[in-house]
């Protein structure tokens, strides 16, 4: 006997073995249908005795195992059912002949046999025969079960007769010696008359009768017989049979203790085909317990049934602990015989199953450990696989999942061993998958997303590698890619640099054939492999939604409604509000605009020791139709944090949520959801998309400036332009407005703001006329409009300390000069010295002379659907004006003129430019001033009646420009209102302060009642080498 039946369990000892086989050509499907129906009849209540017979069906049974039938009768084939397909009457004799031949095979042990013929009709079928049954087809065979029951009954009759026959064999007759096949030659020539021999014969026969009793459903009887057999055999040291008797004792006790059976959960195993499961399921019927109990009571040894039943059972039946001890003993006896390896192995398996029921895992593992070392003979590869998987299953049953996984893995490896000509990669793969739970490995990457991986990395990695290899050899590249990406994703921390390289290389080579997807892969047996997104290639550390650039940012027209929302509560502080505010802060404040490119910034890094190419990286969003614009990037080896900007265009409006991103790395497409990423910092992922707005682009006639304004209000400047002007100069700035968006530009507002003006600024710095521009509105996409802005600078340069310094260096004391002798101050040499000094000063403090003015022009525009919703955009133009000083009045004094209505105003004019100037004032002659020159000019002015000033049109004519007059008048008015005393509004204030004082003193003496009058003066001058530019300059002097 060489083929172990791993399915066997202790209660199989009470079964009768019936072999069901096809003869001739029977379709497999039909055979197994009939087989299933036959094997459903596994338990039969014998009519007259109320005993229960259990039948074990096999469709395959090696005849050499049959030879051990005397040793343990449940190994003996007692019944044979053959199924045949016979369509015509003329085939019948041949078929029948075959049946008889088949019977021969098991003839030594058979009690009875049956032949089921399908398809035959006619007169042969009409003949009533006990051993043959005819059915017209596989579908019309209702009586099969009945037939089987009859058959079993006939088996029972034979069994019962044998049992009675053997049981009543008393010592008077010569008892034949039962022996196992390998023993036969040992007993040749042995003295058959010795006491020893006789005892041996007796013992063996007792044991045999015990077996028969057990099979015939007489449990108590069998226990008694087994006990006797043990006694007899122990005395003659017949170890093999002693072992068998002990095992029989154990089996009977197990049947008694565990009516539910020990083979349970056998389920569908791979070994004997699918039919087993039905058999296993039917073996344990509910209510069997009751039957058995009844049975025990009824079948005890007849003489004094009612009284001794209980005592007998208690005495004969082994306790659960004893069962194991006896099993151990039996196995140790079996172990003495090399040829009984299979018996020993099966006994081990049975004992383990019993222990599993008893939940004594440690002892069970010892039995299994022993079973591992039982050396049968050179096993075929298939047998090895079977053995390993059975071991694995048994370990599983006693709760040793890791050990189970270990053996399953070995079985899997055996399936694909190099010695096998056709490796079963499919089976190997399937077994490998079953080992996963044992190595606490699941194929769902989400289970690995929490923190660092904790587990048996080395072992798990090995297993994954094997899965990859098996799936590749199976010819399923998609599966292979899935496992390989799983390996890379989850075991990244444990792979060495070289392994990382190898894995990615093989991954790339597989994905060349079959790119990795985000689909679930469903295996034939129903297991679903979830997709593996590469969230670690690259690793994303933070996700930040970016606001639109300042010029494109939408602003909401403020409404009362919006404000009331924020101040809903009447309380200044309430914890509830504070809480809701916290929530609010998670929401993103800004908005995105439909149709405009929106950006999300990711901080990523590459954990690989080589350059990582990420292709097709884009955003995953929900809520709004979004057109992502994927990017490709290449991250250097083990890069630090690396910013990546992903962009896309929202196509509709509403709330958009950025869920994650998708990538394609090594040919594997992954959708990485942010929820599944550990340790990602984000500023919120939901943002509102508002309807489309137009886009404005501006270009100007002035050159762009690198000089960036420092905006105080946080507005960002779109463009900066700069211009250099002399003080008093004016220039036009032409601004081209182009609508580069897709929506019409319907509304435009322009505002200007001067920033960081420490300087006193006179007049309007920037003026424009918007109406001309607005007449071109609405501006269609692509169209251009222009806006002209006038820039005029008027600054006060009189405080320039350097200049004053220069002047005093010349020896001219401004303050010290009495006004009564102004002519004395006109010192000739001054003119000569002048050209030298300003040059020096221009060398040393050139820049300090320059003042800057900065202003921001804000364009507020809107249009399209966004305008309807109340949104607008702003665009800011920074204007940087450098103002250079032009002319200074270093001294001012007055001189009475010939007329009392008039006086002379004496001005020391200093040209601080490098150009020659012509100064024209009133009706006077033009005064030409060379660069750096200072000259005095005298202007006759009407004494001015302060009260009547605003109404004096005559004064107005003296000014070159009527508009100028208007401005001056405004200024004068301002003065009139604001100033009491000592206030001079002029570009020469610093110098004039002295003059004012003097004037105040002098006024009563010389001008009498004119003290409160004002004098105005206009001076224009031209730069000679820049004739194109009209430079004018106005001084206003107010004398109070």
């Amino acid at each position: 006997m060489s083929v172990p039946d791993y399915m066997q369990c202790a209660e199989d000892h009470q079964t009768l073995l019936v072999v069901v086989q096809p003869i001739g050509i029977v379709p497999e499907e039909s055979f197994f249908r009939i087989y299933k129906r036959i094997s459903a009849v596994s338990q039969v209540n014998v009519r007259d005795s109320q005993r229960v017979l259990y039948i074990r069906y096999r469709h395959h049974y090696p005849p050499e195992n049959n030879e051990w039938g005397d040793f343990q009768t449940h190994r003996k084939v007692v019944g044979l059912i053959t199924i045949t397909d016979c369509s015509s009457a003329k085939d019948w004799p041949q078929t029948f002949e075959k049946f008889h031949l088949h019977k021969e095979l098991y003839s030594a042990t058979l009690y009875d046999s049956r032949l089921f013929v399908f398809g035959l009709q006619g007169e042969i079928a009409e003949q009533p025969r006990t051993d043959v049954a005819f059915y017209p087809s596989y579908d019309e065979c209702e009586t099969v079960e009945k037939r089987i029951e009859d058959f079993i009954e006939s088996l029972f009759i034979v069994l019962e007769s044998k049992r009675l026959d053997r049981a009543t064999d008393k010592s008077g007759d010569k008892i034949p010696l039962l022996c196992v096949p390998f023993e036969k030659k040992d007993f040749v020539g042995l003295d058959t008359d010795s006491r020893h021999y006789k005892k041996r014969c007796q013992g063996r026969m007792r044991k045999h009768v015990g077996d028969l009793c057990l099979q015939a459903g007489m449990l108590q009887d069998s226990l008694v017989h087994y006990h006797m057999a043990v006694e007899l055999l122990r005395s003659v040291n017949d170890f093999l049979w002693l072992g068998a008797a002990l095992e029989g004792l154990c089996s009977a006790s197990v049947i008694y203790h565990y009516p539910g059976g020990t083979g349970g959960k056998v389920g569908s195993r791979r070994a004997q085909g699918g039919s087993l499961s039905a058999e296993a399921g039917n073996r344990h019927r509910p209510g069997k317990n009751g039957i058995l109990f009844l049975l025990c009571a009824l079948t005890s040894n007849g003489i004094n049934a009612d009284t001794s039943a209980e005592i007998g059972r208690a005495k004969n039946c082994l306790s659960p602990e004893d069962i194991i001890d006896k099993y151990k003993e039996a196995i140790s006896y079996y172990g003495k015989y090399k040829n009984a390896g299979v018996i020993e192995l099966e006994a081990c398996v049975k004992a383990v199953k019993v222990l599993a029921i008893q939940k004594r895992s440690m002892e069970a593992s010892e039995f299994l450990q022993n079973a591992v070392y039982i050396n049968l003979r050179q096993l075929s590869e298939e047998e090895k696989i079977q053995r390993y998987s059975i071991l694995s299953e048994l370990y599983e049953r006693i709760g040793f999942h890791r050990k189970s996984a270990f053996f399953k893995r070995i079985a899997a490896m055996q399936c694909a061993a190099p010695s096998i000509p056709e490796p079963g990669w499919r089976a190997c793969y399937k077994l490998l998958l079953e080992t996963l739970p044992g190595y606490s490995l699941s194929l769902d990457p989400n289970d690995f997303s929490q923190g660092t991986h904790k587990g048996w990395a080395a072992v798990q990695m090995r297993l994954l590698h094997e899965l990859v290899y098996a799936s590749r050899r199976m010819g399923n590249p998609a599966l292979c890619v899935r496992h390989l990406s799983f390996l890379l994703q989850t075991m990244l921390d444990f792979l060495s640099d070289q392994e990382k390289k190898d894995v990615t290389q093989s991954l790339e080579s597989y994905t060349a054939k079959c790119p990795g997807t985000m689909e679930y892969i469903t295996l034939p047996d129903g297991l679903k492999l979830p997709p593996v997104p590469f969230t670690k290639l690259p690793i994303v550390r933070s996700v930040k939604l970016l606001n639109l650039p300042a010029s494109l940012r939408p602003h909401k027209v403020k409404s009362l409604l919006g404000q009331s929302v924020s101040t809903k509560s009447p309380f200044i502080y309430s914890p509830i509000i504070a809480h809701s505010r916290e929530e609010k802060s998670k929401k993103i404040e800004f908005q995105w605009v439909q149709g405009d490119v929106c950006e999300v910034q990711l901080m990523v890094y590459n954990p690989m020791p080589f350059e990582l190419r990420v292709e097709n990286m884009g955003l995953l969003t929900t809520g709004v139709e979004f057109e992502p614009l994927p990017a490709a990037l290449s991250l250097p080896a083990e890069s630090g944090l690396y910013p990546v900007t992903l962009v896309g265009v929202p196509q509709t409006t509403g709330q958009i949520t950025v869920n994650g991103y998708h990538t394609s790395v090594f040919g594997v497409f992954s959708d990485c959801l942010l929820d599944n990423l550990p340790g990602v910092k984000t500023n919120g992922c939901t943002v509102e998309v508002i309807p489309a707005l137009p886009r404005l682009q501006i270009s100007t006639s002035l050159p762009r400036s690198a000089h960036a304004l420092q905006p105080s209000t946080g507005d960002e400047i779109f463009t900066n332009v700069s211009v250099q002007l002399y003080n008093g100069e004016s220039q036009q700035l032409i601004i081209k407005l182009e609508n580069i968006g897709t929506e019409p530009l319907e509304q435009l507002e322009v505002t200007a703001k001067t920033v960081n003006t420490k300087e006193k600024l006179y007049g309007d710095f920037l003026t424009w006329n918007l109406e001309d521009t607005l007449s071109q509105f609405p501006l269609k996409p692509g169209k251009t409009a222009t806006l002209t802005v006038n820039i005029k600078v008027k600054l006060d340069f009189s405080c320039q300390e350097n200049l004053l310094q220069d002047l005093s260096d010349d020896g001219i004391s401004v303050s010290g000069l009495p006004l009564s002798s102004p002519f004395r101050q006109v010192v000739k040499p001054r003119v000569e010295t002048k050209p030298i000094n300003p040059q020096e000063s221009s060398k040393s403090g050139d820049f300090s002379h320059v003042k800057t003015l900065e202003a921001i022009l804000n364009f507020k525009y809107s249009g399209g659907p966004g305008h309807v919703e109340g949104y607008y955009r702003t665009l800011a133009l920074g204007l940087h004006v450098e103002v250079e000083p032009s002319v200074f009045f270093t001294r001012v004094s007055t001189l009475p003129a010939t007329s009392t209505r008039q006086c002379h105003l004496l001005l020391d004019v200093f040209n601080s430019t490098e150009h020659e100037l012509t100064i024209s004032a009133r009706n006077n002659e033009d005064l030409i001033l060379h660069a750096g020159e200072c000259q005095r000019m005298a202007i006759q002015v009407d004494k001015f009646n302060f009260e009547s000033f605003p109404e004096t049109p005559a004064d107005g004519t003296q000014f070159a420009n009527a508009k100028q007059l208007e401005e001056e008048r405004q200024q004068a008015k301002g003065l009139e209102i604001n100033s009491k005393l000592d206030i001079w509004e002029a570009s020469v204030e610093g110098v004039l302060n002295q003059v004012v004082l003097e004037n105040l003193q002098l006024a009563p003496l010389q001008w009498g009642d004119f003290a409160g009058n004002c004098n105005f003066l206009g001076i224009c001058y031209l730069a000679e080498d820049k004739p194109k530019i009209d430079i004018y300059f106005i001084i206003s002097i107010t004398v109070q």
Binding site: S361, S365, G399, R402, K403, S440, K454
Partner: protein
């Protein structure tokens, strides 16, 4: 010959693995991994006994042809497993026990380190050197 020393977290993942012939490390991993079945079984069997009376030393977990595997479990269910060469018959049970106790003490020292998070892999020079000395001593 002491071949391998492994520490497990209560959740049965390794905190520390050290084996001497490094070329066949995977084999040790398998051996030790399967030994956990026995450790679990022994612990669950012990669960019924009073906790304070519990013996921390689990004894021989299982012998294979080449190795003997011994186990030890602390009260916080941190497990230690040692794999010893089967041929080393000189090694007494008491010695194994004292080695485990040393291991336990060393582990306690690690836990006292405020910078060590329980459950992390052990990267401790002191522990390493202790294991080293133990391996040297047995060899």
């Amino acid at each position: 010959l002491l071949l391998s020393v492994v520490c497990f977290a209560p959740q049965n993942y390794p905190l520390y693995i050290r084996s001497v012939p490094t070329e066949n490390e995977l084999k040790f991993h398998y051996t030790v991994h399967t030994s956990l079945d026995v450790v679990d079984e022994k612990i669950s069997a012990m669960g019924k006994a009073l906790v304070d009376q519990r013996e921390l030393y689990l004894g021989l977990l299982y012998p294979t042809e080449d190795y003997k595997v011994y186990g030890y479990v602390t009260n916080s269910r941190v497990k230690f497993v040692m794999v010893v060469d089967s041929s080393n018959t000189a090694l007494r049970d008491n010695e194994i026990r004292s080695m485990f106790r040393k291991l336990h003490n060393s582990y306690t020292d690690i836990m006292c380190n405020p910078f060590y998070n329980p459950g992390d892999r052990i990267h401790s020079r002191a522990f390493d050197s202790m294991v080293n000395s133990m391996m040297m001593q047995v060899c």
